[in-house]
């Protein structure tokens, strides 16, 4: 299988992701709305960091800053090239699963035949064999998220910015997809920044959990998750760490 070619490093020689005292404020209807206030976080190459925080803590803004879709008002963001996986799958309704997965390749200028040929073995590996030409309306929620993840993976960026990838799924499918993502990243390591409001997801998937405060987002704590993989969500150590994250969020579990 042809691995997606990964760009070696950022233009300025940066490795991993470095967010340094970043602030970002938006002009809202009732004046200025601060989204992030002095956030610092780092992800070493190959590290999976998960960012948890309540709604409105600037999680999506953080990812867009890392992807270069926004610039900070204050502070610096240095990162290797990052591909976004949006919260909703945003698959194109006129394309089948294979063409949707190959979109990043088409965006780089590959012709349809070559893009499809490069994406096809991945679709199979992601358990979507037989659904190559199925349009999004014919796919289940879990399948759509897998196609969406594959699309971002095939962008060939060293960093993946995942925005609440499983928030729209039902609880059972979500649990399946979390296990699937953990296995996929074990086989296909990337530097990952995953934002979520699901504490269990953060602890299950992350090497490190970063806790953000309510708006404006600020890092309140960082919790290293030094558990061997694959992890069981019912392991006592994991449940203990989950409670520490809840406590850091100011909630008693």
């Amino acid at each position: 299988m042809v691995a997606p070619s990964v760009e070696p490093r950022g233009r300025d020689g940066t490795r991993g992701v470095h967010v340094e005292l970043v602030s970002r404020t938006f002009a809202g209807r009732r004046g200025l709305v601060p989204a992030l206030a002095g956030v610092s976080l780092h992800a070493a190459p190959g590290e999976i960091i998960t960012v948890v925080g309540p709604s409105g803590s600037g999680k999506t803004t953080l990812l867009e800053l890392i992807c270069g879709l926004q610039t900070p008002d204050d502070g610096t963001v240095r990162s290797e090239p990052a591909a976004l996986m949006p919260q909703r799958d945003l698959l194109l309704p006129w394309l089948g699963a294979l063409d949707n997965a190959a979109l990043a390749l088409r965006a780089r200028g590959l012709d349809r035949t070559r893009a499809r040929a490069a994406a096809a073995p991945w679709l199979q590996r992601f358990g979507l064999a037989g659904f190559e030409d199925a349009r999004p309306t014919a796919l289940s929620g879990g399948m759509r998220q897998r196609v969406s993840f594959l699309r971002s993976l095939l962008a060939g960026k060293p960093v993946l910015a995942l925005d609440e990838p499983f928030a729209a799924l039902d609880a059972i499918t979500r649990a399946e997809m979390q296990a699937w993502l953990a296995a996929t990243l074990a086989a296909e390591p990337r530097t990952v920044v995953l934002v979520t409001h699901d504490v269990e997801e953060a602890v299950l998937l992350g090497d490190r959990v970063i806790v953000l405060s309510p708006r404006p987002g600020r890092v309140t704590s960082e919790i290293a998750i030094e558990l061997r993989r694959p992890r069981r969500r019912t392991a006592p150590e994991l449940i203990e760490l989950r409670e520490r994250v809840y406590a850091a969020l100011g909630m008693s579990a």
Partner: protein, 257 residues
């Protein structure tokens, strides 16, 4: 699909209405020279078929060509307005305002200017069709999720490739919707243009038939115009379902995980 192909209820209602009309004229409710009975219209459709057909071909050509010109121009203008916000802000109010220009008065001015040939008809048909296609195409482009554009940016897609892979396909259903709406006004536009000065066409034939008291033939040309618009609408609906099946696909059975 079934609802389109099995319109038996409106057919029954139409038959009843035609029956009432026939009875009204046959029982002396109106002078047949002023209001021809449906069966007189039907026999004119048959007896004058060669004349009606040769004039129909002219009008159909004007309408089809005019709509085609309008659809291509509207897609181009909508895309330009989508890309250039300044153009959009400048042009959008003018487009809306242009709809207040009465076509029946525009047609003779154009005929005076451009003569009795095909060109003024084409312009009138294209002008009246253009508006609805631009508006629906713009709506299709505006409905694209901004996050999708951001996604394409993180994939390093150029502006052109984002347009080609995301925006253009998303705009196409709007082109079809606008064109279907345009069909109705396009036929009306063609008739007005022909009445302002022409030597053939169903609008011209209608205009000629009234003073000669050939009212059945006048009504027969109206029937043909109406059937033409309906057929065009149906063909466009079918073409849309064949070329853009995803735009109307109901959520089907989905696998469970």
């Amino acid at each position: 699909m079934r609802r389109v192909l099995a319109p038996w209820r409106p057919v029954v209602l139409l038959a009843v209405l035609i029956g009432i009309w026939e009875a009204y004229v046959d029982t002396g409710g109106a002078d047949p020279l002023i209001l021809p009975s449906p069966h007189a219209v039907a026999s004119s459709l048959f007896d004058d078929r060669a004349l009606l057909w040769s004039n129909f071909v002219v009008t159909a050509g004007e309408v089809l060509l005019g709509i085609l010109v309008a659809a291509v121009a509207a897609l181009a203008v909508a895309v330009a307005m989508h890309f250039f916000i300044t153009l959009r802000r400048a042009l959008y109010p003018l487009l809306i305002a242009s709809q207040t220009i009465p076509v029946p008065l525009l047609a003779p001015v154009l005929v005076l200017w451009l003569g009795f040939g095909l060109l003024p008809k084409l312009i009138v048909v294209a002008l009246v069709s253009f508006f609805s296609i631009v508006i629906t195409t713009l709506a299709g482009l505006a409905a694209i999720d901004p996050d999708l554009i951001k996604l394409m940016r993180t994939f390093d897609a150029s502006r052109w490739r984002t347009f080609r892979h995301v925006e253009l396909p998303a705009a196409l259903p709007g082109v079809f919707t606008g064109t279907k709406i345009a069909v109705i006004v396009a036929v009306i536009g063609a008739v007005f243009a022909e009445q302002s000065g022409a030597s053939s066409g169903l609008g011209y034939l209608f205009e000629q038939s009234i003073p000669q008291l050939l009212t059945a033939r006048a009504y027969a040309s109206v029937v043909m115009l109406s059937l033409f618009a309906i057929a065009l609408f149906a063909v466009l609906t079918l073409a849309e379902r064949l070329t853009l099946p995803w735009a109307h696909q109901p959520p089907g059975d989905r696998p469970s995980s």
